[in-house]
């Protein structure tokens, strides 16, 4: 009962607020949804206690879903350590965001709708993490995509918000296509889409090949690739990342919950969940490591030049997800999930603090029009410091533990791709510190660049927004320190139990604890370097950034335009799709098919058509006539045949 309630309470909240929003009123909807999630959070903690203690996986079957031939899919909830961790993180952050949103959205005219969407999102996310089979996971997966679409486009009056919402959905659909094909291939190989049978026979099928287009393909690798394409879409990895920065059109609580702490980590979760399969495809793991490391690096470079405060954090999220993926690529799943958890705290903290800044600045998001507000919003300022320290991995903050273990695992894997990931990660760590303090200095320090009207209104946020910030700050401070030994340290074996599989020979997790001293120190040293560089450029000599951007204009433009991904995709896919569509319509349907077909016939038989057309519905009679003639001919012929 606890198990089912924890998952379905948010749905209850969402439906009530959505359907009875008018009757409940703004306050009613807020209290109902927030308290549903709150209860769900408490239940999640109980589940966590239950599950982590025992090694067995607990499954709660609900209802038969799809049955056709040998395919059988049921609605069922599955609870193991991985689920319990995700469940607690999701409900915790979601609850805090719900509370924060009460303050942040209080000027908005459709609060019940907003709260309803947030809760609906949470429900889909919980279904995703508790899924017992791939199809149900896909249900949650597409569901969170839907909620994300609705929330990005929440302010539907803005054309940019609508465009961003559609873009998010479509880019994700590209990934989802890969995911779906992955599920189908899994069914063909394993004869099931449920986790237990797949995991049980993964080793048996590790040597199966299939012939396609004249080439022999390793089936497990094919499946892993397809599933990973799905993960790339959801978790905004390079190539399918373009939707995430645009998604910042949504209200800031949404960015914090969906586009930082929870939904975007679904890809990481999914791959970790499927670890028994991914472990048998070295090729897939290598590709994941390369993609992850490249994303970590690429996104960090872009974050260094963006001027929209939320976009900086969005690219930062993208980059941190890259870290999680290359951790997976070297089989350090535990480290990836550990970073997922700490990241949820400090990134939500950063986003919500950014929201607090935006709230104070009357909706301004451009850092070039901020500055000089330290003394006005002190609490927020401290929060951004804590978030940035945690993000850049300064000692004893959460990121210090989780990011460092990832880098150490990459190094410890002693493979080429591991070293590649390590150095990319170090470079990204340097930039992470740089852009974090660039954000901090530009937003809060120096002379203000905002106009007087905005400055006159600058005020600290109300308690309902600050308290969630404080709680998240505690998480950003302590979660790394508390979780280290259990998640990735000595107790990791007993903690994870059966939830994660690592085959023999993949020992990056163990090796991570025995790397040279310089590897352990490197992230810290480059982090300090990044902070100093930011100080130099934005406090000590503020003329320098302008100078650099004009001297290295090519590079600057390249970064500012985000490596031209959007331009490329528009030229490659969007515009051609419309052009081809028009061509098919006017040329194919219009000129060719109709021209040769009906219109051509009409032209030939114009005389007949004209005579008929003044009968208005003459064709009806004509048709009826033809039909009757047909039957008559048939009957006559048959009769004659018989007589003859």
């Amino acid at each position: 009962m606890t198990y089912v309630a924890a998952v379905f309470l948010p749905l209850f909240g969402a439906l009530s607020a959505g359907v009875f929003g008018r009757q409940l009123g703004d306050r009613g909807a807020e209290i109902l949804t927030a308290s549903s999630i709150g209860v769900s959070f408490i239940l999640s903690l109980l589940i966590f206690r239950d599950v982590v203690g025992s090694s067995a996986v607990q499954t709660v079957p609900l209802l038969l879903w799809i049955q056709s031939g040998t395919l059988e899919v049921a609605w069922a909830l599955r609870f193991d350590t991985l689920t319990a961790v995700m469940l607690s993180v999701v409900t915790c952050v979601s609850f805090l965001v719900h509370v924060y949103a009460i303050g942040y959205m209080h000027h908005d005219s459709s609060i019940p709708r907003f709260m309803s969407y947030l809760s609906l999102f949470t429900f889909f996310m919980l279904i995703l993490v508790t899924a017992d089979n791939l199809v149900q996971l896909f249900f949650g997966w597409e569901g969170v995509g839907l909620a994300s679409y609705l929330l990005i486009g929440f302010w539907y009056d803005r054309p940019s918000a609508n465009a961003a919402a559609i873009k998010a959905f479509l880019v994700n659909r590209v990934g989802d296509l890969g995911f779906m094909l992955g599920i189908l291939t899994t069914f063909i190989l394993f004869g099931s889409v449920c986790f237990d049978p797949i995991f049980a026979t993964a080793a048996v099928h590790a040597g199966d090949y299939v012939r396609f287009l004249g080439v022999e393909w390793h089936l497990v690798t094919v499946i892993c690739f397809l599933l990973f394409i799905g993960a790339m879409g959801k978790s905004a990895q390079i190539g399918l990342h373009t939707w995430l920065p645009d998604a910042m059109e949504g209200p800031t609580p949404v960015s914090a919950l969906i586009h930082a702490a929870t939904m975007v980590t679904a890809g990481v979760f999914m791959v970790a969940r499927m670890s028994p399969l991914f472990e048998y495809s070295q090729t897939a793991l290598t590709v994941i490591a390369i993609i992850g490391a490249s994303t970590a690096f690429f996104a960090a470079t872009v974050a260094c030049v963006q001027s929209d405060i939320k976009r900086v954090i969005a690219y930062s999220t993208c980059s941190q997800l890259g870290y999680m993926f290359f951790a997976i690529g070297v089989s350090a799943y535990q480290a990836a999930i550990f970073h997922l958890m700490t990241h949820a705290f400090f990134k939500a903290l950063l986003f919500l603090s950014a929201g607090s800044v935006i709230h104070a600045m009357s909706g301004e998001q451009n850092m070039h029009r901020m500055g000089g507000i330290v003394s006005r919003i002190r609490v927020t300022y401290v929060m951004v410091w804590i978030g940035s320290l945690a993000l850049s991995g300064m000692p004893f903050f959460a990121g210090y533990y989780s990011k460092d273990i990832i880098l150490e695992a990459a190094f410890g894997s002693s493979s080429t791709v591991g070293y590649f990931a390590f150095w990319m990660g170090i470079a990204a760590a340097f930039m992470t510190a740089f852009y974090s303090w660039r954000l901090l200095f530009m937003t809060f320090h120096g002379q203000t660049r905002a106009d007087e009207k905005v400055m006159a209104h600058v005020h600290e946020s109300p308690a309902v927004m600050l308290i969630p910030l404080l709680i998240l700050a505690i998480g950003a401070l302590l979660s790394g320190w508390i979780g280290y030994e259990t998640f990735v340290g000595q107790h990791r074996e007993s903690f994870w139990g059966q939830a994660i599989t690592v085959i023999a020979g993949h020992n990056a997790m163990t090796a991570a604890h025995h790397v040279p001293l310089w590897v352990q120190l490197a992230p810290f040293v480059v982090g300090i370097g990044g902070i100093l560089l930011a100080y130099l450029l934005y406090i000590y000599m503020p003329v320098l950034p302008g100078l650099f951007s004009s001297v290295f204009n090519r590079v600057y433009q390249f970064l500012l335009k985000k490596w031209y991904f959007d331009e490329l995709y528009n030229a490659l896919f969007v515009r051609p799709a419309f052009a081809i569509g028009n061509g098919f319509w006017k040329g194919g349907d219009g000129a060719l098919i109709d021209g040769i077909g009906p219109d051509g016939v009409a032209a030939v038989s114009r005389g007949v058509a004209q005579r008929l057309s003044h009968l208005q519905s003459g064709y009806v009679y004509h048709y009826a006539f033809a039909m009757i003639v047909g039957v008559t001919v048939f009957v006559t012929w048959v009769t004659l045949f018989h007589l003859w």
Partner: protein
């Protein structure tokens, strides 16, 4: 025993009786209109109840035809009046009665001219549709199959838009060619097998060469109805000119007749030809999915957009039908049901704004959510159904078809699956242009949200989309035995094992 009643004749001819009653109504116009509406509603509601009884009494464990009625009709020719349903046809009878009921309800105020004739046309249409799905003899089948078109022409021709003559002509031209060929094929079948009974023909081994010619003749008729590319161009025009309820039936039921025909005739009667032509069907269907989706993307008329989306969705259906795996055929059947509900509902959605503003131009709308939040919600759910979001009916069909076709041809599965992305593109693009944005056009300021009657029409459709998406078992269960038998009888071409077991 209720099972001894001629239930199929009842469900088929009850609407016709209702139509006869309506014809007897006399009096002044307002009175006639009111009575005609009431009688039509009552009749279609009763018909729907009877069809529900069929579902309730249906035995899921046999592939035999059930509720069979057989009477001599033209004894000299061996033609009988033979009715029966199996797991393949049963739910289409329900789909027809369900949609007709909703159509009559939705036309309550939308149709004001010649109400009496309109209701008669719909009830006759219902008789023809239901009869078509139940008929087990070539002659009644042919009469019902072609008979469907008469009231449909009438509905488009009398209550249609400005270019209705052109649309009807196009429709007519395509269908006529197909019908003539089908009729010829039926003659040949009769001479060869000496019977017009469909169950007997299903067991008759036609020679290989003949199978191919017969298959092609039937294909000419069925492919037009589906419609398959490149025989589809009549559909957008017919939809645009048809009144809302006409479009609902056209998309919801008439398009299914072609696909049903493939399953009832082509596959069981000409199994070798069917597998011979499968690559051909695959090619046309894949083209249909991609081509129609891209064309849908650039449409400026809401109805045309939905019409093209139908062509794309039916591409999934034809692929599924010709793939000899349980999942693919069941997926195709399920997709047909789902498409009947979803596309019907989408046409009703277009009808809602058309009734208010009398235009289907997408650019004439924008920001409707400000005035019509309930409409926005309803439209969103059907949009999601069309996109095939898991949890809606659209997902199950597409998923099963892809699952079934992947082991047979991964290339086809791959290409078809791109339709999933394109489908999301054109539907969301449509939705955002109509519903989202600022409410800027002055003409839209006075719009009213859904009326009670409209809510009454949409609610059952909405529940169906979610029910079929979340708990599709009651529907899939109907298919299982019949589909298994169909595949077994056809000496299924061994599906090449993709991997060692």
């Amino acid at each position: 025993m209720i099972t001894d009643w001629p239930l199929l004749s009842l469900v088929t001819f009850l609407p016709l009786a209702g139509a006869a009653v309506i014809l007897t109504i006399r009096g002044d116009d307002a009175l006639v209109a009111r009575n005609a509406r009431n009688v039509a509603l009552l009749t279609s509601a009763m018909t729907f109840m009877v069809s529900l009884a069929l579902w309730n009494l249906f035995n899921f464990d046999t592939a035999e035809f059930q509720f069979v009625e057989q009477r001599a009709w033209l004894p000299g020719l061996g033609v009988t009046y033979h009715m029966g349903v199996d797991g393949i046809s049963l739910l289409f009878v329900l789909l027809s009665t369900f949609l007709t009921l909703l159509c009559i309800l939705s036309s309550w105020h939308a149709v004001t001219t010649r109400v009496k004739e309109y209701m008669v046309a719909f009830l006759v249409l219902e008789t023809m549709m239901v009869g078509m799905f139940c008929a087990l003899n070539l002659i009644p089948f042919y009469i019902f199959f072609e008979g469907v078109l008469l009231p449909m022409f009438m509905i488009i021709g009398v209550w249609g838009g400005t270019r209705r003559v052109y649309a009807a002509f196009k429709f007519f031209l395509y269908t006529l060619t197909g019908s003539v060929l089908m009729l010829l094929a039926m003659l040949v079948m009769y001479f060869t097998a000496q019977t017009t009974e469909i169950p007997a023909l299903m067991r008759f081994p036609f020679p290989d060469d003949m199978q191919r010619w017969l298959w092609l003749a039937f294909f000419a008729s069925f492919a037009v109805k589906v419609p398959m590319w490149p025989l589809h161009t009549w559909l957008p025009d017919a939809h645009v000119e048809a009144p809302t309820a006409g479009s609902v039936i056209l998309a919801g039921v008439l398009l299914k007749m072609g696909a049903y025909g493939f399953l009832r005739f082509s596959i069981p009667m000409f199994p070798d030809a069917s597998s011979y032509f499968t690559p051909f069907i695959y090619a046309l269907s894949v083209v249909a999915v991609i081509y129609a989706s891209l064309v849908a993307l650039v449409q400026e008329d809401m109805k045309k957009l939905v019409a093209y989306s139908s062509i794309a969705h039916m591409g999934f259906v034809t692929i599924g039908i010709f793939t000899p795996t349980q999942q693919a055929v069941e997926g195709a059947l399920f997709q047909m049901l789902s498409h009947g509900i979803v596309s019907g509902a989408l046409f009703l959605c277009v009808g809602v704004v058309y009734d208010r503003r009398h235009t289907r131009e997408i650019s004439a709308y924008g920001g409707l959510v400000h005035r019509m939040p309930m409409y926005a919600l309803v439209f969103m759910i059907f949009t999601l159904g069309s996109i095939g979001l898991p949890g809606t009916s659209g997902f199950i069909g597409e998923f099963l078809v892809l699952l079934g076709v992947l082991p047979v041809s991964s290339l086809v599965a791959l290409f078809t699956a791109t339709g999933v992305i394109l489908g999301a593109a054109y539907m969301l693009y449509l939705y955002s242009r109509v519903i989202f944005g600022k409410l800027e056009k002055p003409a839209l300021h006075g719009l009213l949200d859904l009326s009670k009657r409209e809510i009454l029409v949409f609610t059952p459709l909405l529940l169906m989309v979610l029910w079929m998406g979340i708990y599709p078992t009651p529907f899939l269960k109907v298919f299982h035995t019949s589909v298994t038998t169909l595949l077994e009888n056809n000496k299924v071409i061994e599906v090449p094992a993709l991997a060692a077991p």
